[in-house]
């Protein structure tokens, strides 16, 4: 684990895997909840967790790099089920890259339990991990100028769902009617870091 200083009040904690980032994120959220960590933002990402708004970054850096981060306790958090129709325009391309039929893509994707590793790109957009590495796909060479809201997509090791229409370069394999983001709802984001997700195929 490395603590990289970011400006005057932030630390970027770098770890060696996505799993470690998730464990570290869970531990930092726990410390904040119990009151032993005072921080404005805790932003998990692929291999890092950013802590922003720290009063004493140096002390926290020393403390974190000297300590063992306990494995996250299994949470009794329910799995969020997202109904999905596997009807995306890139489904056939993804099937070809995986070397399987489009139906098999749907079966593999719906048979996977995902976890939200981190969010970003747009409010409510989660980077979901869970697919084995052999199913990694590249981004499209030319991004689409408008990806419809509810598009279920793949890129690299991640699955994501577009909360609203936006430009995007991910491979679109399906569509969900689930509302990913509603600022009038509490919580506004259906998915947040650590949320477990399962896609349920709909006819």
């Amino acid at each position: 684990m490395r603590a990289l200083p970011v400006g005057d009040a932030a630390l970027l904690i770098e770890v060696s895997s996505g799993d470690e980032a998730r464990t570290l994120h869970a531990e930092l959220v726990r410390r904040r909840a119990e009151g032993s960590l005072s921080v404005r933002e805790i932003v998990p990402a692929a291999r890092t967790v950013l802590l922003d708004g720290l009063a004493d970054p140096a002390r926290l850096a020393a403390e974190l790099t000297a300590s063992e981060i306990p494995p996250a306790r299994p949470r009794a958090r329910a799995v969020i089920e997202l109904p999905v129709r596997y009807d995306g325009p890139d489904l056939a391309d993804v099937a070809a890259q995986w070397g399987v039929s489009p139906e098999e893509v749907a079966r593999i994707h719906a048979g996977t339990e995902f976890t939200v590793a981190f969010c970003g790109f747009a409010p409510g957009f989660g980077y979901l991990t869970g697919l084995p590495a052999r199913y990694d796909v590249p981004r499209r060479a030319t991004p689409r100028t408008a990806v419809p809201a509810g598009s279920v997509a793949l890129a690299g090791p991640y699955t994501g769902v577009y909360p609203r229409s936006s430009p995007g370069g991910w491979q679109l394999i399906g569509t969900t009617d689930a509302v990913l983001w509603d600022h009038a709802r509490v919580p506004a984001a259906l998915l947040s870091p650590g949320t477990r997700v399962r896609f349920v195929g709909a006819a």
Binding site: G7, E41, A45, L50, D52, A58, F118
Partner: protein
Amino acid sequence: MTDRALSVVRSGALTTVQDLGRPGHAHLGVPRSGALDGPAAALANRLVGNRPEAAVLETTLNGCAVRPRSTVDVAVTGAPCQVSVDGRPAAWSAPVRVPAGALLTVGTAVSGLRSYVAVSGGITVEPVLGSRSTDLLSGLGPAPLTDGAVLPLGTPNSLHTRVDTAPQPAPPAELVLRVTLGPRDDWFTPEAVRAFTSRTFQVSSASNRIGLRTEGPALERRLTGELPSEGMVLGAVQVPPDGRPVVFLADHPTTGGYPVIGVVRETDLPAAAQAVPGTPVRFLEIRRRWMN
């Protein structure tokens, strides 16, 4: 129906509602947002007796014109510009009484870029995640102003202390941004890091509330691989593949995949909000307040 409202007569190039922003939601992909020139917005609020968290209008370049439905006090700060009420010149950076139905015109910035218009009682559009700020990146908060829009106003806060006038810094002829290196300065060649902190860049016309884009020497990378997406702070200087540094401002994305060569000190960012395209920019390397 209350008559405490503001009709938008001329929305201008880009006028948005801004307050202190919505920090604390970066992990959900929600930018902080908020007034780019925070001190100017705070001063405008003080001049009309508003609380610091009251929402104001942020205009860009060519101002706006609004008509209050009830008599209000207004103050215009930030980029200096001509202020008028029903065509009669009024004070800039001082409280101005605008009678019900009169037209308040905020003119084109004489220097600088963004003017702030505080109205007594504040703009009270529906908050989103605790803030009324327009966020241009993610579309949260009210849409940018359009001609004919009507904005609700709150009740003036008569107990709040107010000031009558206050000095403001002039918009910068040259922008000097103090920067601490890292967290990814090691992704660049030593020559690129030296160029970053010694050469002069210019503010690009492609700048916006998301980032201050620059033109100048392209910063060459030492590591050419892909950087996995990671969290970004306000003031982060990200360098995309074209090598031109971008200083992240209030509507910046919360994570990004290009290396951050340094971070601009937050107190220097209000000046960045007022720097017009072509303004020379220098990144002045400073040591962190803490160093181990």
